[in-house]
Symmetry: C2
Subunit: 380 residues, 2 copies
């Protein structure tokens, strides 16, 4: 096991590797996982399960989980209200059937099965599909269930959150309307991770964008920040919902159609957004942060012929062949060239470090904070 | 002009023809039209304009208007709130620019220009496009602007209303989802003319249907009537909006997906209708009788992937080549075989007869009554 020494020289996660191999043999490596045996509020039902990892099979990889985000869908999954969810099983040796929380995250390869090609120790991988259970310290998986990332091109945060937010933004801008340079789109939740990715991807595509954000004391700071990312215009929810402000928007677009709307809010915000759209435009809903439904005046459907649809990156995995791999590849390119920048220090992105005693506590803090912005847990 | 005698022997409209030719020569034939020179409530702004008809040109037809309905869109057009409207012009010799009301109606050919082929005196025609101005007693038009109907196959009411309601039902059932025999659709406004046409066309296509109607004292009579037309199930708005009743509907469909929803109501009725739809189903909105918007819970868009669209038969004329002619042809076949029956005596279908003194009064009565159901004006 001399390669361990090489891996230990990787300066990114020295502690990880020291811990992972402090056991006398590989088979004794223990993992800790954040599991649930019944649906409910994550803070109530999640608990830590410690278990021995299985031997690495011929076609398998031993994986050290490096970092995992908490997405709203992860929370809904634990609550039992999300349509896509992993089965509860006793595969991890739990007394009761259980599932591991989390769907997204980046892992480092610790050991490669003898029959696996194309992977080396130290590679970064992410799950090829949803429902993997990323909220754990280690796992063993068939190599076919993983996608390899170019670790030299991505930050840890980017790698841990590549599959959902930026890929959602990429797919929404590319799979629904045929947008050409100079075309316009409008979105709410402009300051969310999807919103920021859409601004940047749109900029790279030559699109003009209008991003709606919540008003705040330091609004100009946020406007400057999003403009720096590539936003053409940033407006408040109040401006979006003001009839008078419509003239300002028309003076910006100068008659060019706003062909696409991205909605993660719902309610009156979404209705006002829909009114900005051109004839035959598409309104994609990927979230409902206001907890209010999508409300569309009849005339916008009949006379403007709006196409009102939902967007769910998880469903697209099956619905659009290769959508996950294709969009990850495109997003990697955009991150590599700096078209999508890492924003871990923004006011809606928080890193938390797991420590030995407090995996549960770390996640509970992250879950509590997750309304403020994206929480990323780094496993130690 | 011996053919006039032949026409006079047509027993359907003896008075029409007597009047039309009481003038000493054709050029002196006068028409009366219901015009508006400004937008507003039809009852306020409509007035009668009497004018001399032009000579019939080489490629033209002289037309006796027989019957015209009052559609909600006709009213909205006069109000100035309908996106499709005819220009106001002085073509009819009015002092101020004016337009003639009405978009739908059936006309009888009185005279055929020397260069016109395929038309004979006595033929029934309808306008090939919208904004023709059907609320008048006579007109002269290029033959290319008309579509010929097989008068032997249709009642006058059917011919006068063929282009909007049954064609809307036909297009909604055929152009948006690929429905096969045994498939299900659900609609509100089941007792409207579109609703009745959809029931009958759906039955002919082998589809199962659920029609939502307003509760009423004689509900069972209406249920029986719609069932007779071919409705699989007829339910009330209260049943549609009851969570418990969902189980009854599931017991009917036995797991078969409800692939299409037709909405002419909006509000909570439409939301409850949308909840009945299967994954990937289409919800088409063609009206908003409740004056409330279309309200769709976020989850139905994201997780059920509903496609929420509008339907406008007028826009389809341009959007889907030949849609008007194709759907008229199909509807004619269905009427000819009795698959779509004439329902002039139903409680939402009213005929009114124009008389010489009171064209304006007749329309005013029809306009006032038009909330109760379809009004048809027969020109005398």
């Amino acid at each position: 096991m001399s390669s361990l020494l090489l891996l230990q020289s990787n300066m990114l996660f020295p502690k990880v590797l020291t811990r992972a191999f402090s056991s006398t043999t590989m088979v004794q490596l223990r993992a800790r996982a954040l599991i649930y045996t019944q649906y409910g509020e994550p803070i109530d039902v999640l608990k830590v399960h410690s278990y021995e990892l299985p031997q690495v099979g011929t076609n398998q990889l031993l994986l050290q989980h490096l970092a995992a985000p908490i997405n709203p869908s992860d929370i809904n999954q634990v609550q039992g209200v999300y349509p896509s969810k992993p089965p509860l099983t006793t595969d991890l040796g739990t007394d009761e059937p259980a599932a591991v929380g989390g769907n997204e995250g980046v892992f480092q390869v610790l050991e490669v099965g003898s029959g696996v090609e194309g992977y080396s120790k130290g590679d970064w991988v992410i799950p090829a599909d949803v429902n993997y259970g990323t909220w754990r310290t280690h796992s063993v998986a068939d190599s076919s269930k993983m996608l390899k990332l170019p670790k030299e091109k991505l930050s840890l945060n980017q790698a841990a959150t590549i599959a959902v937010n930026p890929c959602s933004a990429y797919q929404m801008l590319n799979y629904y309307e045929s947008l050409k340079p100079g075309d316009w789109f409008i979105q709410n939740a402009g300051n969310s991770q999807v919103g920021r990715a859409a601004i940047q991807i749109g900029k790279k595509m030559g699109l003009n964008s209008i991003s709606i954000v919540r008003n705040r004391d330091n609004l100009q700071e946020l406007v400057d920040e999003l403009t720096e990312l590539g936003a053409t215009h940033v407006i408040t929810e109040e401006q979006n919902e003001s009839r008078e402000f419509g003239a300002t928007i028309k003076s910006w677009t100068k008659g060019s159609p706003i062909k696409l709307g991205l909605n993660a809010v719902g309610g009156s915000n979404c209705t006002a957004l829909a009114r900005k759209l051109a004839n035959d435009a598409t309104l994609l809903t990927y979230g409902g942060m206001s907890m209010k439904p999508v409300i569309i005046p009849t005339g916008l459907l009949i006379f403007k012929n709006l196409n009102v649809k939902g967007f769910w990156v998880t469903a697209n995995i099956k619905r659009i062949p290769n959508s996950r791999q294709d969009s990850i590849n495109e997003v990697i390119k955009l991150m590599d060239t700096g078209a999508i920048v890492d924003t871990p220090n923004s006011d809606n992105f928080f890193e938390l470090k797991d420590s030995d005693e407090s995996l549960l506590k770390t996640f509970q803090t992250a879950l509590t904070n997750s309304k403020k912005g994206k929480q990323i847990v780094l496993f130690e």
